[in-house]
Symmetry: C2
Subunit: 463 residues, 2 copies
């Protein structure tokens, strides 16, 4: 286990201690996060169901030394299929199991809801993935909330507190099952025991919603058990992340917001009796990188050109405070228009849009800057992308980033070939993998079984 770095630096201030940023890549429908990515001439139209497409993307991320892939999910069909493919992978853990076979180092993080699958099966599938990938698996544990998701299980959503009651039970039982084949059971001895049954014991946990006797017949992986990721949240969700998460993923818009989330998480970890350093906070960032800013903007415009941008243009006009529809989207705003623009000081996107308008960018170019993306988006040169990541990282806004790309067919390679070398030159990103497991890659402490600090605490009566 590559924990040396952690202990060396653990005396430093939490927000500036990391020497190297963590980089993950979110993968979705194998086309890209832009709704027109599938319409590009270079796109393989079968990518949504073509395992080769995601294997290629995974290998690109691995070539760039990225620490993990992240496959989110939705338990229902989202969006209008006449316009774009579903945004998410067909099935994260099935896909990751195949990707495990086609990669060697990169971490494999997949989402699975705590609301529907029995913990015995969740524990078995993620530990099996961890074992076949030789210690590279991670589980993004999320409670479902959407009524359309519950409808796919013949159910209606529970109250928020009940949702988290089940999450606590599921995560605790899964972790206990993961640890139920003890290290002390030993390795197979051809002249003795295959394993010592004295150290492979039932867990006998029964909650209000779920239960399991155990043990789970899977020995430790190279990293012991999978890493646990959770989404940044508040209230019950923040408390759960403080208790269980090794990694938390968030979507803040600004450095300030990101630092606040990170601080709240660290407090939640302390509340749960854990070292705040044990939680890595990673945030989403989207990229379209080009040789020049103009080329990057044109790459995004090639995508926008394949969608109906009347809606976004009208939205932008309203956002800038313009009274009339934008008639000439390719021309910079006129002096009269510029005189009337107003930014909403509470809205980072609005501030950015106004700034770009004042700098002379045309409405189409403002849109091409990705101002309406759900997460911060960088459209520009490799140096601009690296500047952005460096600023957030050095400000203690995050331990790392989950990169996202408009076009997966080209985006990851562009990032790996252009941005990663700049980050390495600046000493911000490791040159290759130092360890072998996802836990190594994230400098996480060892854990096997249910964290004894949690196991010994009252957990709100969940178990």
């Amino acid at each position: 286990m590559n924990n040396v770095k952690k202990s060396e630096s653990s005396a430093g201030k939490p927000e500036t201690k990391n020497k190297h940023m963590i980089l993950g890549a979110v993968l979705g429908n194998n086309f890209g996060s832009h709704p027109a990515a599938w319409r590009m001439p270079h796109a393989d139209l079968g990518s949504y169901t073509n395992i080769d497409a995601i294997v290629k993307q995974a290998r690109s991320a691995e070539r760039g030394g990225m620490q993990f892939l992240f496959l989110p999910e939705r338990l229902f069909l989202q969006g209008d299929l006449s316009k774009a493919p579903p945004l998410f992978n067909i099935d994260p853990i099935i896909t990751l199991s195949a990707v495990a076979q086609a990669t060697e180092k990169i971490g494999l993080m997949g989402t699975a809801s705590t609301s529907f699958t029995e913990p015995y099966l969740l524990a078995r599938q993620f530990k099996a993935l961890d074992v076949i990938s030789r210690g590279r698996a991670g589980w993004n544990a999320v409670p479902s909330y959407e009524p359309v998701a519950f409808a796919n299980f013949g159910k209606v959503p529970p109250l928020r507190e009940n949702k988290y009651e089940r999450l606590h039970e599921v995560v605790q039982i899964v972790q206990a099952l993961w640890g139920s084949w003890g290290y002390e059971a030993g390795r197979p001895d051809p002249n003795g025991m295959f394993a010592d049954p004295a150290h492979i014991r039932p867990i006998d946990l029964q909650g209000k919603h779920v239960g399991a006797r155990g043990p789970l017949p899977i020995p430790p992986s190279e990293q012991g058990q999978p890493v646990i990721m959770m989404p940044a949240s508040s209230g019950y969700g923040l408390q759960a992340a403080g208790m269980y998460a090794n990694v938390v993923v968030g979507m803040p818009s600004t450095i300030q917001e990101s630092r606040a989330i990170r601080r709240a998480l660290q407090e939640a970890a302390v509340q749960a009796g854990r070292d705040p350093e044990e939680i890595k906070f990673v945030v989403f960032a989207g990229f379209t990188v080009g040789e020049t800013k103009r080329k990057a903007l044109d790459a995004r415009r090639a995508l926008d050109d394949r969608t109906d941008i009347r809606g976004p243009l009208s939205h932008l006009g309203a956002y800038l405070g313009l009274r009339e529809e934008i008639a000439l989207p390719d021309a910079p705003l006129t002096a009269a228009q510029l005189a009337s623009v107003r930014a909403n000081p509470q809205d980072a996107r609005s501030i950015l849009a106004v700034k770009l308008a004042k700098a002379g960018w045309s409405p189409r170019d403002i849109l091409a800057h990705g101002v309406f993306e759900a997460t911060p988006t960088i459209v520009g040169t490799a140096e601009e992308a690296a500047d952005y990541l460096q600023e957030w990282f050095e400000a203690g806004a995050a331990d790392g980033f989950v990169t996202n790309f408009d076009d997966f067919h080209t985006g990851i390679d562009e990032f790996v070939d252009r941005v990663v070398p700049v980050l390495r030159e600046r000493g911000l990103f490791l040159d290759g993998y130092e360890g072998k497991t996802l836990r190594d890659h994230l400098s996480l402490p060892e854990q096997y079984g249910l964290d004894p600090r949690i196991a010994n605490e009252s957990t709100g009566g969940a178990l």
Copy 2:
């Protein structure tokens, strides 16, 4: 689809119509079905969790043109780990997803219980495997019954009829979800729609135990949807197999028993309004093959030597009707002993054991013949193995076989290199794959979605 053979021969008698037998390989703990396989000097001690071990076995089976791999499961820890590894794979569908990536033609059949997982997730995982393997997936759908399995889900087993009530609901919902992204939705058109939403519709099925709204956002695979396998059973289980199964797997001891099961299955199919030819019946057969019968017996004895055979010897003595313990296990029975042996005419194993004793085989060699195996076992030359398969196949006892091996590290290669060529010479087994999908390999009819004959019938009020 390779259905030509089927229609050409469908006028013939059901029990002799097939020209070529189906061959599958059951894979378990990656060591072998003999409890001492892991102790052999050539065994990699890490095989239970080493994906490379099963990939090697899968590739051997594919090299031999076998139609499918079959991964059973148990939802609990079975057996004494001090003596042997668990008999079953760590997680069938996770393992098969990795194996999909390392193979190209062979079918991938995995067991998943209908008792615990929600149908939306079963449907999603198996269809995702089907899509990433380009139409090679199969689901062995079984209801769980063991109290120890239910304990791993914090539950107690239901009554038998309720168990099947849930199975009907789960299988019908899974199949309906599989078909919910209609073929008519079309292929992505970069100048038009990604898919036509008019043909991707909710299924809105709600049963007593489970339900789902749908649709499942996964387009058809190369074979449409996964193949469904079920175990040979009676009563409720037989009825369900008649309704849903494309393949049924059984463990009969004799040709007569096997023919009776096959006939009952065909009747159950007719009862369900299906063509009896649509159900392929495959039976287990275990093999240790050697250059000579002596070498094959010695290979098994090398395994037996690594276990305590006092128990089996004592069992054999009682089985043969001997009054005293067997003192000289390596010597043929004496004339006095032979005079007292009696076969139980109702028990095929007993008949075989007595026959072998009378032929002069020593008690250890009788055990090495595999007389106490749960399924028929052939220990001998390639010709003897082929004779056995030919006899069963030509007697209409089965459409094919699920091969099993004492030692997976050597058994599959021995079978592929020695037995398969003999079967091909005799015109009993295809030389390579004619089609691309599991449905092709099994000469199964096309099916997409819930079989309309089932969908339109009353199904005992399950849905």
